[in-house]
């Protein structure tokens, strides 16, 4: 990347290098030089940029609208919710749907279950994935290579295939219908992902770091704990968010493995449509309450998350 940046800067001093293919060759344009190596594809001409911004605006409106409509609907009166023809904005803004949804028995408890399950699953994923990923990337043994392949293959296992045997196992262990059982099931999803992500983060850590630490008398475990972990703490945070989201939004295992006691909110949301007829208003309100905290959280931490999401894939 550094090299590319340099050469494009040099290229920028040459005249008659049009930034857009349609630019007339005779016109010498000052080149945009924002960003690192974006000159290649970044559009420079005003007309092109206006067109692109218009396209982007249209895409954002289309893409953002469904969730906005959910929000608007949650503020309608229950009757307006299913009015024919439907309106986009509420005729009358009310919190009735929120009161109905949150006041329903089982809903507050399901929030506590969702939080408990997601937290336990996140901690479990990290405790298992961090040393495993370190062992894989730092020592590069044959067993490590086999292990990361096996971990990736587990990603392909359909939850519907192992959900029932897993539920039976939890019964044998005396954990039926507990947040612990569900969080173990969720960890089967997030652990391979966490190992994958953490491996990418560890790969970016120079090895001299812990070599220096071991020379100074640190044990290998001590070097990992005191030197390497602090360096990758950002990566651990990203992995934690992913593990948390995977559990928070998961539905199938929750459906198969929980009854009344440990039911999480996604299952409760789905049950709204069978148990109480079609209560769309309450359903939209509960869906909004469940989604907005995680959307806000991730928007706050957006940069790190983008890095985590793309890291594994781009490195291949």
């Amino acid at each position: 990347m550094r090299v590319a940046e340099k050469t494009t800067h040099d290229a920028g001093t040459l005249p008659a290098v049009p930034t857009a293919p349609s630019a007339a060759p005779a016109v010498v344009r000052p080149r945009r030089r924002r960003g690192t190596n974006r000159e290649g594809l970044e559009a420079g001409r005003r007309g092109t940029r206006t067109l692109l911004w218009t396209l982007l605006a249209a895409a954002m409106v289309l893409y953002g609208f469904p969730f906005l409509y959910l929000l608007f609907t949650s503020f309608k009166t229950p009757i307006d919710t299913i009015a024919v023809p439907p309106t986009i904005l509420p005729r009358e803004w009310t919190l009735e749907n929120y009161a109905n949804a949150l006041g329903r028995s089982g809903v507050p408890a399901s929030f506590i279950n969702s939080i408990q399950t997601a937290v336990i699953s996140t901690v479990l994923s990290l405790v298992l994935a961090v040393p495993a990923a370190y062992g894989i990337t730092r020592y590069r043994t044959l067993s490590g290579r086999i292990f990361i392949m096996a971990a990736l293959v587990t990603r392909m296992v359909p939850p519907v295939a192992i959900g029932i045997p897993l539920a039976a196992m939890m019964g044998t262990l005396g954990l039926s219908d507990t947040p612990i059982a569900l969080s173990i099931a969720h960890t089967t999803i997030s652990l391979p992902l966490s190992i994958w992500l953490m491996s990418s983060f560890f790969e970016a850590v120079p090895q001299d770091l812990e070599e220096a630490a071991t020379v100074d008398g640190c044990s290998r475990l001590g070097a990992l704990w005191r030197v390497v972990i602090p360096v990758v703490s950002g990566g651990i945070a990203v992995t934690a968010i992913f593990a948390f989201l995977a559990s928070w939004n998961e539905f199938l295992f929750a459906l198969l493995m929980t009854a009344i006691r440990s039911q999480t909110t996604p299952v409760v949301i789905a049950n709204f449509q069978t148990q109480f007829g079609l209560d769309w208003g309450s359903m939209t309100a509960l869906a909004a309450v469940y989604s907005i905290p995680v959307i806000l959280l991730t928007l706050l931490l957006q940069r790190k998350i983008v890095a985590g999401m793309t890291l594994g894939a781009v490195k291949g």
Binding site: R34, G40, Y63, G64, I136, T188, L299, A313
Partner: protein
């Protein structure tokens, strides 16, 4: 006594390996074992070894082969559309450069929404009578009647309608991954191609896409696996219906297991499904990625 590095690496990996062995490999082993038995759905009921009978029954049933084709069609539609849309958005963001960063972040928001919520939301948009999409198309003069298209009630199109929330949820993921890949393409390569007179289509198909090949491979495989396992969005929107027209493999296995109480048959279906996914994933990685090539 200092243990060898190899042992130390094993010691670090052991807890995670043990966890996956107990909670993934063991249930999988039970799944495969169950597929050779006829099992009574009642706990503690009889369990008779029937050999390959469940597999024979699976392949003979129209529900199973139908679900297989529907899963394939669903996966292809979802992955193709979100790849096209994701690439378009990634190019748009790249061409706008740094000034589009805030919008890139906002574009990510569906990734945080639970699939069950997304399915519900789109069901609400597409449902007959009070669905907004039909009404808006009617008001725009495109449809004569708001209920002209039975998004979720017409067996001919329901499979594609239930795919919409899935596409909506994860186009962001495609976009992010492809955007990151685009940032790694050296700018001077593009400049050189332009100096050689390459126009936009040639630039895209001869330079950009070939360079993105490994990134595209990973993105398609990851998303393909997820789409083939889609369950939540389909269950909440159409529950496999009408007339099984949206019954994909995970829904069929779920119903065979829970509703029809035939764990043996469901296990055989699950085993075939898993093997098929493994085969397709490996074939896809091998052909798209082409690890032998240096790109």
């Amino acid at each position: 006594v200092r243990i060898s590095d190899r042992r130390f690496a094993l010691f670090l990996m052991a807890p995670a390996a043990l966890f996956l062995a107990v909670f993934v490999a063991f249930p999988l082993f039970r799944l495969i074992a169950d597929s050779f038995y006829k099992i009574s759905p009642i706990a503690g009921g009889p369990r008779d070894f029937v050999g390959l009978d469940n597999y024979v029954r699976a392949f003979a049933s129209e529900a199973f082969t139908g679900a297989g084709w529907r899963t394939l069609a669903y996966t292809l539609v979802v992955v193709t559309l979100e790849f096209a849309l994701g690439l378009g958005m990634a190019l748009l963001f790249t061409m706008l450069g740094k000034s589009s960063q805030t919008w890139r972040t906002v574009f990510m928001y569906p990734l945080m929404i639970a699939p069950i919520v997304a399915g519900l939301l789109w069901k609400f948009l597409m449902i007959d009578n009070f669905g907004l999409i039909g009404t808006l198309l009617h008001q725009a003069g495109i449809l004569a009647d708001p209920n002209q298209i039975g998004w979720l009630s017409d067996p001919n199109i329901v499979l594609y309608s239930v795919a919409i929330p899935d596409i909506w949820l994860t186009t962001s993921f495609m976009c992010l991954v492809l955007f990151a890949g685009l940032q790694n393409i050296p700018g001077d390569l593009i400049e050189a191609a332009r100096l050689d007179g390459a126009r936009a289509p040639a630039l895209l198909f001869r330079i950009i896409l070939p360079l993105l090949r490994p990134v595209i491979a990973v993105a398609l495989v990851v998303r393909g696996i997820d789409a083939a396992r889609a369950f939540d969005t389909i269950l909440i929107q159409a529950n496999g219906g009408p007339q099984s027209a949206s019954e994909t493999m995970s829904l069929l296995i779920y119903r065979t297991m829970i509703r029809f109480g035939d764990p043996g048959l469901a296990s055989a279906m699950g085993t075939i499904y898993l093997l098929a996914m493994l085969a397709v994933a490996f074939a896809a990685v091998a052909t798209i990625w082409r690890p032998g090539k240096d790109t």
